[in-house]
């Protein structure tokens, strides 16, 4: 039996510490689930184990022998393979399945190779993961689930003792996921140690033998799965503060209709949807990856403009560009913070005042003093932690960057605020602040549209929850009737609960 153990692993990026001394042990023949909310450090830990990142501190041992993984090749040499979440980044779409599966042997093998042997080897490997595909087909013809299995087959082309799977079921259907689980169980029987990253509790409870939960770079739970309750795991994932924070007892008074969307076509998904928001209402939009949440948010803000009008306070408006949206009183906090939400090479003041720069302009020139005073007032109010207001955003932590991305819309004082995964990759403290802003906006009679895949957040403070599936709104739940199960039921197109849990 082989024992792989990581002891007090530390890692930071810039001044952001992601892992603060994490212990993690996995034995061969066991399925060890690694859980945690977004930004807990799961992926970082696994990237260290697979040699992608170098650790800052701590040690990795294999059967008590210390290992040094400087490159992914070192980790592979030691028998550790990783199946990454974005399978497309690990495979070459223009090559055939056979070439992809036998890539490892190709790199280290002889200069000349035999196609016949290669195809045969590929076929053997594909059989092990239960894929009945012609290995000479180009990889680009495979579905996502097939690519995932191809990647596992590729990993099996060496003698492996451990395999890491990062959110493998994120985009799979129930049937595909079930197939994956049976493949994993076979591997387990063959003595492979499996590290399984996920934040879907039901499948973790079903598959794993042990559970480790990470939160903010610490291990908060480490137990055998059989002696764990779901509630215990959720608490460990979210932390007591957040669980309490999420208990929102506030009674909100809803005002007049604010935004009315009727048969609105989202151009990127080519689906239509209808819903409405009232003043002071927080409407959550749930959905799995690929359900069309981001696409809908972008269309409503005019980032990918739709031809259909929406009505805001009873007035019909076609939102053809973000500028139009802003002048109609809409603010948008996009999902990809660093790419879309903020400008990392500009300072806090410049980021905050960008949508309202006109207010600080006289005869075309910026009144920098006034701009700065106003921005500093907001920095204080929003609790953005920065040494000085002229620091580039690049040097701020993710949470403070996000506060800036939200803050710039508060300066604008609009009516409708669209949030797309606003708590992605930020710590609990920043999350508390984000929730505080949102509740305050609702108190000030603003309408809020909150897109997220974090069901706990939806249940906590949304007045109404719309659930998206396949680009459409599959269901609507009021605060009182919403439960995780019901949301998941709609979010999986009605499959969840009947088959998997």
């Amino acid at each position: 039996m082989t024992i792989l153990s990581l002891t007090s692993i530390q890692k930071s990026f810039g001044d952001q510490t992601v892992l603060k001394g994490v212990d993690f042990t996995v034995n061969s023949g066991e399925v060890h689930a690694l859980l945690g909310a977004n930004g807990a450090g799961k992926s970082t830990l696994m990237k260290i184990l697979s040699g992608d990142y170098e650790k800052d501190g701590g040690s990795i041992t294999l059967n008590q022998k210390e290992q040094y993984f400087k490159t992914p090749a070192d980790a592979k040499e030691a028998g550790i393979e990783m199946v990454v979440q974005e399978v497309d980044t690990a495979l070459v779409p223009s090559l055939s399945i056979a070439e992809n599966v036998t890539m490892n042997a190709f790199i280290t093998g002889p200069a000349f190779f035999s196609w016949r042997k290669r195809n045969k080897r590929a076929e053997e490997l594909l059989q092990r993961v239960g894929l009945k595909l012609d290995p000479s087909l180009p990889l680009s013809q495979c579905s996502l689930a097939e690519k995932q299995l191809v990647l596992i087959a590729k990993a099996l082309s060496r003698e492996i003792s451990f395999i890491i799977l990062d959110e493998p079921t994120a985009a799979l259907s129930t049937k595909e996921a079930d197939h994956l689980f049976s493949v994993l169980r076979d591997l387990q029987k063959q003595g492979v140690g499996i590290i399984y990253i996920s934040h879907r509790l039901p499948e973790v409870m079903e598959l794993s033998t042990k559970i480790t939960v990470l939160k903010d770079g610490f291990v908060t739970l480490h137990k055998d799965t059989s002696s764990c309750s779901s509630e215990e795991i959720v608490r460990a994932m979210l932390g007591n503060e957040l669980v309490e924070l999420l208990n929102d007892e506030e009674e909100r008074v809803l005002g007049n209709p604010l935004l009315d969307v009727n048969n609105f076509r989202v151009p990127t998904t080519n689906e239509t949807l209808s819903f409405s928001i009232r003043e002071g209402e927080i409407v959550g939009v749930a959905g799995l990856v690929g359900a069309g949440k981001t696409e809908t948010a972008r269309a409503l803000f005019g980032a990918d403009p739709s031809n259909d009008p929406v009505s805001i306070k009873g007035k019909k408006i076609r939102i053809t560009s973000p500028q139009k949206a802003i002048s109609a009183g809409i603010g948008f906090v996009p999902e990809e913070r660093r790419k879309e939400g903020i400008l990392v090479d500009f300072n806090v003041v410049e980021n905050l005042t960008l949508p309202v720069l006109k207010q600080f302009t006289k005869f075309g020139f910026i009144q920098k003093k006034r701009e700065r005073t106003e921005a500093e007032k907001w920095i204080k109010q929003l609790g953005i932690k920065t040494q000085k207001s002229t620091l580039l955003l690049n040097y701020l932590s993710g949470g403070n960057q996000q506060k800036t991305a939200i803050g710039k819309w508060l300066l604008n004082d609009g009516d409708i605020y669209i949030f797309d995964e606003p708590t992605k990759g930020i710590d609990v403290g920043a999350k508390q602040d984000v929730f505080r802003y949102i509740k305050e906006l609702a108190r000030n009679k603003k309408g809020i549209l909150y897109f997220t895949s974090e069901i706990q957040e939806l249940l906590a403070f949304c007045d109404r929850i719309l659930v998206m599936y396949d680009g459409k709104i599959a269901g609507e739940l009021s605060k009182e009737e919403a439960t995780t199960e019901k949301i998941m039921h709609y979010a999986t197109g009605g499959h969840y609960g009947t088959v998997r849990s």
Binding site: P322, L343, T361, G364, F365
Partner: protein, 345 residues
């Protein structure tokens, strides 16, 4: 709370590590490296040749720098919005030829000989922005294509000949017009013994600098280049700002072309081509001045001065012009190396 824990750790680490020699020297060089190089070259050349450090030579250098600077301002503005205008050289050539043709072939007044190239130049800018903004070609490729088109256009117009006073015409006789003294004044005149092109250059540098640093227009140009998608989602009309940038870029290239025509007194074909590379080099050297790390006009000006000093000094030392490119290239590499070294950290 998590975020405080790591803050203390970082502070502890900061106290622990003393800055190494390298960590101290590199940022200093990054900020002032270009200025030090200028100082050293000035000292070097004045030691090697006693005529180097004279007022006459000083104005000569600035006069030759003025055209490159104007062109480089155009390149700088295109770089600010995240683009790259390669067509400035040929736009300058076109301006040289059209202003000369207005004067010599069509007997126009000075003001017409200035306005016509500017209008044509702005059309080139529109063409560039059409390809970049509407057709969405990569900036480098679009402006490269436009560079070829404009080059061919001005050569076709002149049939490959330069335009000069009393030039013989194909249909017999000589050209009706001449380079008017008032036009030549732009390139050759002096006001209180300061050359006019230098005055124009300094005004352009100062005005553009103030606009870029202090105005909303300038801020939004930089924001557009900083992250186009984030800018768009914050309500910046990024496409319009990109168009403005290419229009300005063409405008300054045209200005450089007019100055060139006025200075040499002929409508030299392809005169702008060698200016392109000097202009691009000046703009990129400008990145490193005062450690700006981004395109800026003052830096561009310093870059152009550095190139001007090198050319002047090397010519005085009888280094052949083709060998001077080696020096130019090395300076550019040096400036870029410092910039990217710092960016990587």
């Amino acid at each position: 709370m998590a975020q405080y824990v790591h803050k203390e750790q970082i502070e502890k680490e900061n106290n622990r590590t003393k800055y190494t020699f390298q960590e101290k020297v590199f940022p200093f060089l990054y900020r002032y490296g270009t200025l030090i190089v200028i100082l050293l070259t000035v000292i070097g050349f004045s030691l090697a040749n006693d005529k180097f450090l004279s007022y006459q030579n000083f104005t000569d250098i600035l006069r030759s720098v003025s055209i490159i600077t104007l062109l480089a301002i155009g390149v700088t503005i295109s770089l600010i919005v995240g683009g790259f205008d390669l067509s400035v050289g040929s736009t300058a050539s076109l301006a040289t030829v059209t202003s000369a043709a207005s004067l010599v072939l069509y007997r126009q007044e000075t003001i017409i000989a200035i306005l016509i190239p500017i209008i044509i130049g702005l059309l080139v800018g529109l063409l560039n922005s059409f390809f970049v903004v509407k057709v969405r070609l990569p900036d480098l490729l679009a402006t490269l294509a436009v560079m070829y088109i404009i080059n061919g256009l001005h050569l076709t117009f002149t049939k490959g000949f330069s335009i000069y006073n009393n030039m013989p015409l194909t249909e017999g006789g000589t050209a009706p017009g001449v380079f008017l003294p008032s036009f030549l004044f732009i390139g050759q005149g002096e006001i209180i013994s300061v050359p006019v092109p230098v005055i124009i250059m300094l005004i352009a540098v100062i005005v553009v600098h103030i606009i870029l640093q202090q105005s909303r227009f300038g801020r939004l140009l930089y924001i557009t280049g900083g992250n186009e998608e984030a800018a768009r989602l914050s309500g910046v009309p990024v496409q319009r700002y990109k168009m403005y940038a290419y229009l300005l870029s063409a405008f300054f290239a045209t200005l450089a072309g007019i100055l060139l025509a006025a200075r040499i007194g002929t409508g030299q074909v392809s005169a702008g081509a060698p200016l392109l590379m000097d202009g691009v080099a000046a703009a990129f050297i400008g990145f490193s001045v005062f450690g700006a790390g981004k395109p800026n006009v003052i830096g561009t000006f310093v870059g152009a001065v550095l190139i001007g000093i090198l050319l002047n000094g090397l010519t005085m030392l009888n280094v052949p012009y083709y060998a001077q490119d080696i020096v130019k290239g090395s300076i550019l590499i040096g400036a870029l190396a410092f910039m990217y070294y710092d960016k990587k950290k």
